[in-house]
């Protein structure tokens, strides 16, 4: 094996039913480097990683790891861990009903002399690990009590603690805010100095340029190339990923228009849900796109959930289209013309074991009621229409949705709501973990919906995205709506409002 190389993969190929997920892919990771693995949704990034970690069983090619003679084939993540490969995935794969400490040590619990689990020592060690990373949590609390961001940090802490040679981070930053991202980057740099090779998968281009040394690009399951970071500026990277020049995002811009004369679609007065969101007022006009800005956990999602009835509003009143309505659960909101794409795609979005077709028609069918079943022909027509319209990459409409890549799953849920033809659509982080091309498609779609007179409530961690599409922004802080910005939307202005204070 070459000097300084910790891991090589050569000629990896792997097929899923109907799809060649990886086709003769090479990958090389050196000691003490942060190596970005880039590509669009479905390019094969996750598949390649799963081959390295033993979740997927590849058909051809070989993997070699420094210090081990001959080709390596992992059969489980545990196998991979023993060989020094640890992974943190895009979605948190820990046990929500176990404590933070238990999650950190699950499968490798420290034992006492009697070979029973040494609880004292592992709580103590857990505390130290979390302290070192600067995460303040009570390690004896169940993981489910913490936000997605903290859960993600725990997953990373767990991987880091396993003395790995190769650390794989698959979209670790998609649910972290800027400060948390910076903490993670610091940690990554520390590990890099210790000689750990890090594979970093992300959709945030700026993050790649902030920490990475080298980039490998995949496209449609094929190897495009490996480049030192300095030789591949942003535009070239995007071009390599998409196989064409970047569809300029700056083109998307809503025309300036005064919406205050338009009829009211949503008028919320004093809505609240105990423990998640304090009473708020919110008016949204027809054809308007309103963004919600705020840090993660500031109550962005909770505000939307409260309007939609996902968390039932305990106080206040809500008018939809000028009429007061009572919303006890999501179906009530849907019958008033609402739809909501939730932020946690895995837990609240997809029905993993149902087909793409069934996932797309689900909300429409729920709205029609149990006894007015859509015929098979109607279902297929609707599925085909939306697969075509928003370009969902799937081998067929009867493929199980769990076999699709994350971005395409997101599109399926989007299709589910478009199929119900909503007047008011809530999109909570619709572009998280999605590649540049798809992002711009979704943003265009939002603008298009608004031009058809539909109202959209848009939540995103990326402010630029909201600046591009929204005509007004609501600012959230600590579970409270603290203000609105309706003119001169600028990144700086919004940031200041989110941060609060005088500066």
């Amino acid at each position: 094996m070459e000097e300084n190389v910790v891991l090589t993969a050569r000629g990896i190929s792997m097929t899923f039913p109907g799809v060649k997920a990886l086709d003769n892919v090479d990958f090389t990771l050196r000691k003490g480097e942060i190596h970005a693995l880039m590509g669009e949704n479905g390019a094969g990034k996750s598949t390649l990683i799963k081959c390295l970690t033993g979740i997927n069983d590849f058909e051809e090619g070989e993997i070699r790891i420094d210090g081990i003679d001959g080709p390596v084939r992992n059969h489980s993540t545990r196998d991979a861990q023993n060989k020094g490969i640890s992974t943190v995935y895009q979605e948190v794969n820990l046990c929500p009903n176990l404590s933070v400490a238990e999650n950190l040590f699950i499968g490798r619990e420290p034992l006492t002399k009697l070979h029973t689990i040494d609880r004292k020592s592992y709580n103590k060690r857990s505390m130290k690990i979390m302290d070192d990373l600067g995460i303040s949590v009570d390690v004896t609390q169940n993981l489910e009590n913490y936000s997605l961001a903290i859960q993600q940090m725990v997953a990373i802490a767990r991987a880091v603690d396993m003395d790995c040679k190769v650390l794989i981070l698959d979209e670790p930053t998609s649910s972290l805010d800027d400060e948390e991202v910076e903490k993670l980057f610091n940690l990554m740099r520390r590990l890099k100095e210790k000689g750990v090779g890090i594979i970093f998968v992300t959709h945030f281009l700026e993050q790649v340029y902030a920490v990475c040394d080298r980039i490998t690009v995949l496209r449609n399951g094929k190897y495009v190339g490996e480049y030192p970071i300095a030789e591949l500026p942003r535009v070239k990277l995007v071009a390599a990923m998409m196989g064409k020049d970047l569809d300029d995002l700056a083109e998307i811009k809503k025309e300036e228009k005064d919406y205050s004369k338009e009829p009211m679609e949503i008028a919320a007065k004093g809505l609240s849900h105990a423990g998640t969101i304090k009473p708020f007022d919110l008016n949204i006009h027809k054809g308007e796109v309103v963004g919600i800005g705020g840090l993660l956990g500031s109550g962005r999602s909770e505000l939307a959930r409260c309007i939609y009835g996902a968390d039932k509003a305990q106080t206040g009143s809500l008018d939809v289209d000028g009429k007061q309505v009572k919303i006890n659960q999501p179906i009530d909101a849907m019958n008033k013309g609402m739809g909501m794409l939730p932020d946690d795609r895995k837990a609240e979005g997809i029905i993993a074991d149902l087909s793409v077709r069934e996932n797309i028609i689900l909300a429409l069918q729920a709205k029609r009621g149990m006894f007015k079943q859509l015929s098979r022909a109607q279902q297929e027509e609707i599925a085909d229409r939306y697969i075509d319209l928003i370009n969902i990459k799937t081998s067929s409409k009867d493929t199980l949705v769990k076999q699709l890549s994350g971005g395409n799953q997101q599109k399926v849920i989007l299709a589910r709501w478009l199929a119900t033809d909503p007047d008011f659509l809530i999109l909570d982080e619709p572009t998280r973990g999605i590649d540049v091309g798809t992002k711009s498609e979704i943003q265009k779609l939002i603008v298009k919906l608004a031009s058809e007179g539909k109202s959209v409530l848009f939540i995103s961690s990326e402010i630029e995205e909201m600046l591009r599409t929204c005509s007004r922004m609501v600012i959230m802080r600590d579970g409270q709506k603290v203000g609105e910005i309706d003119h001169d939307l600028s990144q700086e202005g919004v940031m200041k409002a989110i941060a609060g204070g005088e500066s």
Partner: protein, 359 residues
């Protein structure tokens, strides 16, 4: 080759293979003992003093005796799919419904009667109503109070039989009336329970085909939170699944009671909940909820009955039978287990690859 692949991915393939396997054992045994190997399938007409001319044969016997488990399996399939749990109270609920029915038909405190105290229909409706109430009770505990299905249904599992005994004043109530006995006897030459089972299966199949209930239940079973956001009333659907399961337990209870023209609280439906759960598993359904295949469960139910009948035909005593049953079930369940399937697929693939190299 394409047709072969289609057959391989057919969900009913394994349940049917299991059933065929059991039949094969019969044929081999018959051949080995010098009986006509096809006697397992032989159906003949026989004269009886009580029921006139009836169909007679092992197949008929299996389909007849398997009725209760098949009916229970329908409800169990829905419960497993919607709630990723099992209703272990169905056997006891069968018994309770039978007791309640016989109490109505005979009158409270009467231990034996030949004339009905109330019209038969009233008794049947009372039984179904009791089943619905029991199912609704289970459904409320599971759906609205979020109690684990096993624990929630454990309550009626242990209590229902006792309640039945109370209703019957601690007696075994005999209702020796021909109109009641008819349910467990014969319609023309064919056993009536076969018609009842067929009726239940047809009704449920039509409902699943013509309404979106099937997709709703599966969706809730796979991801209740996401289903709620998409506009489904997850709690109501889980509640509904348990209520239906209770209703089907009542129907099974009516059949079982009518067969012996009595409400034998301690024996009706004994251990049948386990057979019903097993039917669902044998049918290739995951007990983890989500996707279900009703036809698989039904075939599973008859497979279990075929095993039982086969063992008796082989001369295994009813005390030893469970041991053999367990062995057969282990084999069938292993064949259907996904890791085993994956192993076979891999094995076949490597064989095919080896062949390719040679060619």
């Amino acid at each position: 080759m394409k047709a072969w692949n289609k057959i391989k991915s057919w969900p009913l393939l394994l349940p049917i293979i299991a059933l065929i396997l059991v039949m094969t054992v019969n044929i081999i045994h018959d051949a080995a003992t010098g009986v006509n190997p096809m006697s397992f399938f032989a159906i003949s007409l026989r004269e009886t003093t009580t029921n006139g001319t009836i169909l007679y044969g092992r197949i008929i016997d299996i389909i007849n005796r398997g009725s209760e488990v098949a009916i229970l399996a329908i409800g169990m399939t829905l419960v497993v799919s919607a709630s990723a749990g099992t209703d272990i109270s169905v056997g006891s609920v069968m018994s309770l419904c039978a007791s309640f029915m016989c109490m109505n038909l005979a009158g409270y405190g009467v231990s034996s009667t030949t004339t009905l105290a109330k019209p038969l229909v009233v008794g049947l409706l009372a039984a179904v109503l009791m089943g619905v109430v029991c199912g609704a009770f289970n459904g409320t505990l599971v759906a609205h109070l979020s109690i684990q299905p096993m624990v929630a249904t454990l309550i009626l599992y242990s209590a229902a039989r006792a309640i039945g005994l109370l209703l019957c004043n601690d007696l075994i109530v005999y209702v020796r009336n021909p109109s009641f006995a008819f349910i467990g006897a014969f319609l023309g030459p064919i056993p009536t329970p076969i018609f009842i089972t067929a009726f239940c299966i047809i009704i449920v199949s039509i409902v699943l085909k013509k309404t979106a209930l099937g997709m709703y239940i599966q969706s809730v079973g796979i991801n209740a939170k996401a289903s709620r956001i998409a506009g489904l009333n997850s709690k109501l659907l889980i509640f509904l699944a348990y209520t239906l399961c209770g209703a089907f337990a009542a129907i099974a209870g009516i059949v079982a009671s009518s067969r012996i023209t009595s409400a034998d609280s301690n024996n009706i439906g004994l251990y049948l909940e386990m057979d019903a759960i097993l039917s669902v598993a044998l049918g290739g359904n995951s007990l983890g909820g989500g996707k279900f295949n009703l036809a698989g469960s039904i075939i599973g139910a008859y497979t279990i009955q075929a095993i039982t009948t086969t063992l008796y035909a082989l001369g295994v005593s009813s005390i030893q039978a469970p041991v053999y049953k367990a062995i057969i079930v282990i084999i069938i369940v292993v064949i259907e287990a996904p890791p085993f399937k994956a192993y076979i697929r891999k094995f076949a693939a490597s064989r095919a690859a080896a062949k390719g190299v040679k060619a």
